[in-house]
């Protein structure tokens, strides 16, 4: 039958098409396309990191005086009264000695990033950006690395020179890589 043959040919063609698709064995190196494209809103919720060159710093500002008040209310219960330095586990925390915050860290941006994401320990991530700038202005001011009268913000924080920065020596990349890996190298 004429019509019958047409349908058979169409069916055969379809089969050939699908058969071809099935013959191309799926590979572990193919692209799969699982997951959803990240929206700006998706990223806004989690993109909180601040880099040592200042990328990621938010707007906002704070001063040593504001930070002192904040320290009294939200930090002191764990980090001790700095005048007394009465928490033995936190020696020289807010000073300028080696091992203190101002005496150790290479970049003030690291402190902004960490305080914002993880402090205070009983209510992590609860500080506003202004409060984080304030707390850091207080810490750096007490450490003698930032003017107590100045305002700490996304611009001034990059001018903070940490005295210990020169002593840090990155060990990556190693001088002699054991082997250069190709992008698709399997083990």
């Amino acid at each position: 039958m004429y019509m019958h043959d047409i349908w058979r040919a169409a069916a055969a063609a379809t089969l050939a098409l699908f058969g071809f698709a099935c013959d191309a064995a799926p590979s572990k190196d193919m692209l799969f396309g699982f997951g959803a494209d990240a929206s700006a809103e998706d990223l806004r919720k989690v993109d909180i990191d601040v880099r040592s060159d200042g990328i990621g710093l938010p707007k906002g500002a704070g001063t040593h005086a504001q930070g002192r008040i904040l320290y009294e209310t939200k930090c002191k219960s764990c980090h001790s009264d700095i005048a007394k330095n009465d928490v033995p586990w936190m020696p020289a925390w807010v000073g300028s000695e080696p091992g203190s915050i101002s005496g150790h860290y290479p970049y003030a941006t690291t402190l902004f990033d960490y305080i914002r994401r993880a402090m205070p320990m009983d209510r992590p991530g609860s500080l506003t950006d202004d409060e984080v700038y304030s707390a850091l202005a207080f810490i750096l001011g007490e450490g003698g690395v930032f003017e107590k009268s100045a305002e700490l913000n996304a611009q001034t924080i990059l001018k903070v020179k940490m005295p210990n920065e020169k002593n840090f020596v990155p060990q990556w990349p190693p001088q002699k890589l054991p082997q250069q890996h190709e992008r698709k190298s399997a083990r």
């Binding site: 572990k28 699982f34 993109d47 880099r51 764990c78 970049y107 009983d122 991530g125």
Partner: protein, 482 residues
């Protein structure tokens, strides 16, 4: 009103400070130390009993476990003649992960427990008490807990005994609500559900993890804790079979842009912990693990998703992974500039020291143990290297004067714990046991002196020197420097 959290812990790398801060730990260990009692090595019926209940620090067993058996022995004496030696009430709470059942005099004369007595998820024997030991930091959220290596067998660490280091406690995460985001210098920023990730081709690989600070208490010239067990000295390393997606699979999906060189890995815990990972390693062998030893990750191991960076320091294997951001430079996060930096003699401070060096330790006999009598013992331990597979382990019983090859338990896997064994006949005289390993790249575990010459004693991290156990004439085993 919100309860005040306890002070945060900061470890200074001044050696003397560390010693002072952790003196309390030494006191705790000392008080736990069992006092040896004379033993005839015969039980009350005159039968040979090397594992006599009379000796608290006997052959290979941890005092805490033996103490419990002591209790059991006392209870059995009181109930002689009864059909059941012990009732649940005769003992204190059962060990974690176990339930207390009556013990029949003769298990062949009574029906056993129902086949599914544990509601479908097995319990361990009520006589097994191995447990992690938490370092007594002032906060229970920021703390670390050691694997009991002294009674470890084979190479796989049971998931429930895998060491833990937490910055802000273990978060409770619903996998249905967990999202994993990859963005930054990529062509297609993506958000994945756990189900999405599980659709990708999977890999299963066995790898050790080791905290960079493992064995830090052995760095000072005098062992900080001479009575410590190997759990205390070396227990921040464990070994698991991990299953997940190769990170390179995901990197291909998102399309990494030219010029990228680093990846920020971020956890979903209360510390929202971050580390910068070189992109090269991510292409090479890093993986996104959702399973450990055949089942989903344990909560304290990063459930539902963690980064596995084979052979690299534990902290970079970020748990509760919620985000990767691709960038061109490292971030200098708190973890990499404060906790996992490596202060050197002369004032320099090395950053981004990732790979765990070749290291081994004898797990039997080891600290807190006591050899009951001269005779044959199988010395055994673990060796591992972040650079590849272990190729050789040597053992010395004379403090490093002479060395002999130990046998490696096969298969020997890359960047994985390797079990070694060594037959030893103890003559009853003082002996000093040591092990040293070599890996396939030719790296040899250094002596204390060589390692100190290379890196000093300021850094608490990446200490991989040969360690020694002294066996005294009375059979007691101590942590010594040799």
């Amino acid at each position: 009103m919100r309860a005040c959290v306890q002070p945060f812990v900061e470890i200074s790398y001044q050696e003397t400070d560390v010693m002072a801060k952790y003196r309390s730990v030494g006191d705790e260990i000392s008080s736990r130390r069992a006092v040896a009692t004379a033993s005839s090595f015969r039980d009350e019926n005159g039968l040979p009993a090397v594992n006599s209940e009379q000796c608290e620090c006997k052959d290979g067993l941890h005092p805490s476990r033996d103490r419990r058996r002591f209790l059991a022995a006392g209870a059995s004496a009181m109930t002689t003649g009864a059909a059941t030696l012990l009732s649940g009430s005769a003992l204190a709470a059962p060990p974690p992960g176990a339930k207390e059942y009556p013990v029949p005099v003769d298990p062949t004369k009574e029906p056993g427990l129902p086949t599914e007595f544990a509601d479908g998820y097995g319990l361990r024997s009520q006589f097994e008490t191995e447990a992690r030991w938490r370092f007594p930091t002032p906060t229970v959220q920021f703390s670390w807990s050691h694997t009991p290596l002294q009674n470890s067998r084979g190479t796989i660490t049971p998931s429930g005994l895998h060491y833990v280091v937490n910055r802000a406690g273990t978060p409770v995460i619903d996998p249905q609500r967990h999202r994993f985001t990859v963005h930054g210098m990529v062509k297609h920023a993506k958000v994945y559900t756990m189900k999405d990730l599980m659709r990708f081709p999977s890999v299963t690989r066995t790898h050790f993890l080791e905290c960079a600070g493992n064995t830090f208490m052995s760095i000072p010239d005098k062992p900080m804790l001479p009575d410590a067990s190997v759990q205390v000295t070396h227990g921040l390393t464990s070994n698991s079979e991990w299953t997940g997606v190769k990170l390179s699979t995901i990197l291909r999906e998102v399309g990494v842009e030219e010029g990228a060189g680093w990846v920020l890995a971020e956890g979903s815990d209360a510390a929202v912990m971050t580390r910068s990972v070189p992109l090269q390693k991510c292409w090479d062998d890093a993986m996104l693990a959702y399973a450990q030893n055949g089942e989903a990750l344990r909560p304290e191991q990063g459930y539902p998703l963690r980064l596995i960076v084979p052979g690299w320091e534990g902290n970079i294997n970020v748990k509760w992974l919620r985000r990767l951001k691709i960038g061109d430079k490292p971030w200098y996060t708190r973890m990499e500039t404060k906790w996992y930096d490596n202060p050197m003699p002369g004032g320099k401070d090395y950053l981004f020291v990732f790979e765990m060096a070749a290291k081994s330790v004898i797990t039997f006999p080891s600290g807190e143990m006591r050899l009951p009598m001269p005779g044959f013992y199988e010395v055994t331990g673990l060796a591992w290297s972040g650079a590849g597979a272990i190729s050789q382990v040597n053992v010395s019983t004379d403090g490093g004067k002479t060395w002999a090859a130990a046998e490696l338990t096969k298969p020997v896997l890359s960047k994985s714990h390797t079990r070694f064994t060594f037959p030893w006949a103890w003559d009853g005289k003082p002996a000093v046991l040591m092990s040293r390993c070599k890996d396939v790249t030719g790296q040899v575990q250094p002596t204390r002196a060589a390692l100190i010459a290379k890196r000093g004693q300021l850094s608490s991290n990446h200490w991989n020197a040969i360690s020694a156990w002294a066996v005294n004439e009375d059979g007691s085993v101590k942590n010594v420097h040799a």
